[in-house]
Subunit: 269 residues, 2 copies
């Protein structure tokens, strides 16, 4: 093991949702140091054009590179969908997004090859999940739906509210009539709605959490490149955001499942 192995994994997202990916990473790789960056000043990316998302992605990547990370995890579905190549070109490091791991897990789950994808407008319009699923199997049928209300509903804390269930039903009914047996949660906020989505889909659909799938990919990549941190010291998890940290700290625990510790504001872009 060299110093290289002790370097942190860099994770970035447009905001707070990527904490569900960090949570999955910690469960699977409890020894790894992590630097998280959330671009909370410019969130959300999901409603912006690919050109703007690519510009912001450059800034996010440069920030993580300045923290001397050993690999980069793009926790943001939108960036994974429209700007993963920007990260790959800029960073001479192992890089993964959440799309390929999520699509891969969905193909391993589906029996009838009818897969649903939900996400932000940008993620769905990019067709990134659909393209990756088709790449894995030409015979798969993909049914996609943008769900722009889900992020603000989660951020309002209304995970268990009748109106949320009605909205979930409005969004998901067209997918269930297509008899999907697997649904990719293509946005890092959506795992917090698993309960209501399971209810609306009557428990008939397997939900794929792209963040969990991505943690498996990260483990595999670190093993292949002999980059695992085998130190038994308590890992260092650092959080950086581009807007005032108070809201991130307050809402973040919901996503992270535990206290966040210190969150620092940095200027980027």
């Amino acid at each position: 093991m060299t110093d290289q192995n002790q370097k942190p994994i860099g994770v970035f997202d447009s905001g707070i949702g990527g904490l569900t990916v960090v949570r999955a990473l910690l469960e699977k790789l409890p020894n790894e140091n992590i630097v998280y960056f959330g671009d909370t000043a410019r969130v959300p990316y999901g409603s912006k054009s690919p050109q703007v998302v690519r510009e912001y992605t450059q800034d996010d990547t440069d920030f993580l590179l300045s923290k001397d990370v050993k690999m980069i995890v793009v926790a943001c579905n939108t960036v994974s969908a429209v700007a993963l190549d920007v990260v790959q070109k800029r960073a001479n490091l192992p890089v993964t997004g959440v799309i390929i791991p999520g699509a891969d897990a969905a193909m391993r789950s589906t029996k009838n090859r009818r897969v649903g994808v939900i996400g932000t407008v940008a993620t769905v319009h990019s067709n990134a999940y659909a393209n990756e699923l088709k790449h894995l199997s030409k015979s798969v049928h993909v049914f996609s739906k943008a769900c722009p209300l889900f992020v603000p509903l989660v951020e309002e804390g209304w995970m268990d509210f009748k109106a949320t269930e009605m909205i979930a039903n409005e969004y998901l009914f067209p997918l269930t009539t297509e008899k999907i047996d697997t649904l990719i949660l293509g946005c890092t906020h959506y795992p917090l709605l698993k309960k209501i989505i399971t209810k609306v889909t009557k428990g008939m659909v397997t939900l794929i959490d792209s963040g969990e799938a991505t943690a498996g990919t990260v483990e595999k990549m670190l093993n292949e490149q002999n980059l695992r941190n085998t130190s038994t010291e308590k890992p260092n998890i650092q959080f950086f955001v581009s807007d005032a940290p108070e809201k991130f700290t307050a809402v973040g625990e919901l996503f992270f499942g535990q206290k966040l510790g210190v969150v620092k504001r940095v200027s980027i872009g």
Copy 2:
């Protein structure tokens, strides 16, 4: 009348909502040329910290100044609440936000001096409407509520949806129990929800559209400074945005009530 009078009125907003203010301006001042800027790349401002909003406001003001405007209307409630002084310092021109006109109209409307205010998190936390109302009358009681779901519901086009009514009820019930007789719609998106808000408040509350009130203030300021455009030529209304114009053009008609014409993308910041 000089060339000065024919210069456009500059209007800016964080995104698309300010079009309801332009619409009100056109109705009241049909001869005026207008330049509109919507910072659609960085929308929304309402969930961001005052510091970040103030930085963005500088860029927005500089863009309008580059278009040689004769006055500036801050159509964004969030900017009006936390950064109006930034515009006033930077532009040596008449400037108005939407807060003072809205508060003023509410005080003229209320009989029982119990006034409600709804808006984004930033607008409500700023207490800008409450402070202005108290400034106008020490005896007024102000009841405020942030309604973060309203903007995405409007942008989804769900103005007439049962879940929207439930959410409106959730937000507004605490205000109606306080027996308000007047409610300030402190966000440029909210006039599109007038029907559902009237239903939820059982027609017992007068709704104040800050955009309409602001058009009255603009007329007054132009008259006072002898800046009205008396030309009978068809006025020139120009739209600029900081992200791809397609979405703005598509959704914009809903807010503007007519076709927008050409919308140009510009880089700022």
